[in-house]
């Protein structure tokens, strides 16, 4: 999208995202004031809950793991100029892959089961993304609309399976029975206790490191490989890509498949790492958090990790905050998330012109800045 105003690169990459996110938080603060609470006290409670002790940090990083995966899933499509709103549904179906592997391949020795279950989660996520991806690539059906529809199709399909087929007959709740321990992704506190380090019991598990590896892999892929170059080219200008001998249909297909596989990481973290069974509606909107994370992180893996940790803090700290201040319920986090999408996404250029004027005032005599490279 053409930026209306040119800014120096440092302001473009550093300052503008900060201002946008700050605007989202200022408005959230105003809402807190409007409902009669003190926003500074709220921030203090939130930070205390998120980072105040090892337990808080554990939960924060556990949430962040989920958001890294969903953020990467959204971002990789952004790079190809696609918008995958279906991460929510893809992650849900990925949970089915993980569950089926654990429930039916329980004979596999040791942690090979977990490895197979992780692969199954990625495979199911990718397979569920393949249909909208194919329809976009070959039949020109808008990915945004089809993935929205597929979220609801996933919800109905999984609801049917969990209520009618997979439910443990003795159970009231629509959920599968607990997986064999070989399918569990080890939790950090268990590992640290094994080595004699004291760490409180939190759901933080090895998926966190898998998420960091995935971020690095996405960075290598997008900026250091031929395929990544092709993806970025299609994202920047599909017509030019065709002239360069790149097939946008092929890139669309590959990107949506990878996006669905990354969405499967959410199932690895939540289903294999924490719940150890498949639960109705377990995704709970985390797929949509990925949109906010990807926008805030500007579709760059480093930015996504940082944004995911911030959202992890919001979710963990928000829970503690809602406990202390019932007026500031957990829906506050959804509101903040929406404002982040609004200011960091939809209105990302709103502060450019005022900032450019301001910078021009400070630089009384024009520094002979070289023509700014726009990346």
């Amino acid at each position: 999208m053409s930026a209306p105003v040119e800014l120096p690169k440092w302001a473009d990459v550093g300052l503008i995202p900060l201002i946008n996110v700050a605007a989202a938080f200022v408005i959230s603060g105003l809402v807190v004031i409007a409902i009669g609470e003190n926003p500074f006290e709220a921030v203090k409670l939130l930070l205390g809950g998120a980072l105040g002790d090892l337990e808080g940090i554990g939960f924060t990083l556990y949430y962040a793991t989920s958001f890294i995966f969903t953020g990467l899933a959204v971002a990789i499509c952004f790079q190809a100029g696609l918008f995958n709103i279906g991460v929510e549904g893809q992650a849900y179906v990925a949970g089915l892959g993980a569950a089926l592997a654990c429930l039916y391949l329980g004979f596999l020795p040791g942690y090979t089961l977990a490895v197979v279950a992780i692969a199954a989660a990625a495979l199911f996520g990718a397979a569920f993304a393949a249909i909208p991806g194919y329809l976009q690539a070959k039949r020109d059906s808008h990915l945004v609309i089809t993935t929205i529809m597929f979220n609801y199709i996933a919800s109905a399909f999984m609801g049917y399976l969990l209520v009618r087929v997979l439910r443990e007959p003795s159970q009231m709740n629509p959920e599968t029975h607990v997986f064999p321990p070989g399918g569990w992704v080890p939790q950090l506190h268990a590992i640290l206790t094994y080595f004699g380090v004291k760490w409180p019991v939190t759901p933080l598990n090895l998926s966190f490191f898998l998420a960091l590896i995935a971020s690095f892999a996405v960075w290598i892929l997008i900026w250091r490989t031929r395929l990544g170059f092709e993806i970025r080219t299609v994202g920047a200008n599909p017509t030019a890509a065709v002239y360069g001998g790149i097939s946008p249909a092929r890139i669309t297909m590959i990107t949506t498949l990878m996006s669905g596989a990354l969405a499967g990481g959410l199932a690895v973290n939540v289903i294999l790492g924490e719940q150890h069974r498949l639960i109705l509606e377990y995704v709970g909107g985390f797929g949509f958090v990925g949109i906010a994370v990807a926008l805030m992180g500007r579709a760059h893996p480093a930015g996504i990790v940082l944004a995911a940790i911030l959202f992890g803090m919001l979710y963990q700290g928000g829970a503690e905050l809602a406990f202390d201040k019932p007026k500031i319920s957990r829906d506050m986090i959804v509101l903040i998330q929406g404002l982040v999408v609004l200011f960091a996404g939809a209105l990302e250029h709103m502060f450019r012109a005022p900032l450019a004027n301001l910078l021009a005032k400070f630089a009384a005599r024009p520094v002979d800045a070289p023509a700014v490279e726009r990346g």
């Binding site: 999208m1 059906s141 089809t146 109905a156 829906d331 998330q337 929406g338 609004l342 939809a346």
Partner: protein, 323 residues
């Protein structure tokens, strides 16, 4: 006769379930026909429902609720319009943001004002839109079949229902038979041509966005002040997205939009009715399959297997004057 009565009951409940879809779908139609893609219908509906119920609770008047509901959605529509028209933003991103903000904001404020987890207090009958009995509904009730249809399907709805059914042909008439409508459709197909003719693209698109806000506000108010007697967080429950699906399914045309929303409403009524119903030999009816049907049908249509759904050419593309 028993099946007939059951059918009348399902059709009647289908009509009631279709009303918010019709209003939201027409709202989306106005916006998208002018070139502004609107995936934020869900969030706007929720906002309208909250503002409507809140105002009706505070003032005791359904009409004040309607005004507040519509005002709130017009404001949100203008934010979407500002992002889409003046900021040339990605309209999908803006719509997603609106859905999230609405979902969070209504729950937070509802919870802060009334406690009860975000639910607003039960409205009195006098603060709601109540069913209207059309003339002679009672006296015709003895007539076989037609009497029952008149009494239970045509009569006995609230004013918003009748408004929804009237607004579809009105939308058709304005869009296809007036100069404003022609220009509005043109701005969604080829804004440069409209601009060349000396007509403001910006003004037309803002106009469309405001109309969208009014209509989607009505659908939200219907949810909380006519269908239910309260607002509850997340109460729109995906209806905005079904309306979006219906819009695609109807290929962005008003009268097919009305028909599609009715179809989706009946499917919804049917799936509620068949909950736990056992077909001999086949077992329990998988209601989830009926619930998923609107989305599956829309995807099949989008894929071009049964006709092709082609959106307005310029939808989603910000208009830049003078390249």
């Amino acid at each position: 006769m028993e099946t007939f009565d059951a059918a009348i009951v399902i059709l009647g409940s289908g009509i009631r379930l279709a009303v918010p879809l019709i209003l939201a779908c027409l709202a989306g139609l106005w916006s998208e026909r002018s070139g502004i893609v609107d995936v934020g219908l869900e969030g706007k509906m929720l906002t309208g429902a909250f503002a409507g119920a809140a105002a009706a609770t505070l003032t005791g008047s359904a009409w004040m609720g309607l005004c507040a509901g519509v005002l709130s959605t017009v404001i949100i529509s203008l934010i979407h319009g500002y992002a889409s028209i003046d900021q040339r933003a990605n309209q999908i991103v803006s719509g997603v943001a609106i859905n999230m903000v609405a979902d969070g904001m209504t729950a937070v404020i509802g919870n802060a004002w009334w406690g009860q987890g975000g639910r607003t207090p039960q409205l009195d009958d006098s603060a709601m839109f109540n069913p209207i009995d059309l003339p002679f509904a009672q006296s015709f009730s003895g007539v076989p079949i037609l009497g029952s249809i008149y009494q239970h399907l045509i009569s006995g709805h609230d004013i918003l229902t009748y408004a929804a059914f009237a607004l579809a042909p009105i939308t058709y008439w304005v869009l296809y038979k007036t100069r404003f409508g022609l220009r509005l459709r043109a701005v969604g197909e080829n804004p440069a041509a409209v601009d060349t003719a000396g007509i403001s693209v910006r003004a037309l698109r803002y106009g469309a966005v405001v109309i969208c806000g009014v209509l989607v506000g009505l659908s939200g108010v219907y949810l909380s002040v006519a269908q239910a007697a309260y607002f509850q967080p997340h109460m729109s429950a995906g209806k905005g997205f079904i309306a979006l699906a219906a819009l695609v399914f109807a290929k962005w045309r008003p009268l097919p939009a009305l028909a599609t929303c009715l179809l989706f409403g009946f499917l919804d009524a049917l799936s509620i009715r068949l909950q736990g119903f056992v077909i001999p030999g086949l077992g329990e009816v998988p209601v989830q399959a009926i619930e998923a049907l609107p989305y599956v049908l829309t995807v099949i249509l989008l894929a071009g297997f049964i006709g092709k759904a082609i959106p307005p050419k310029a939808s989603g593309i910000p208009y830049v004057k003078e390249r």
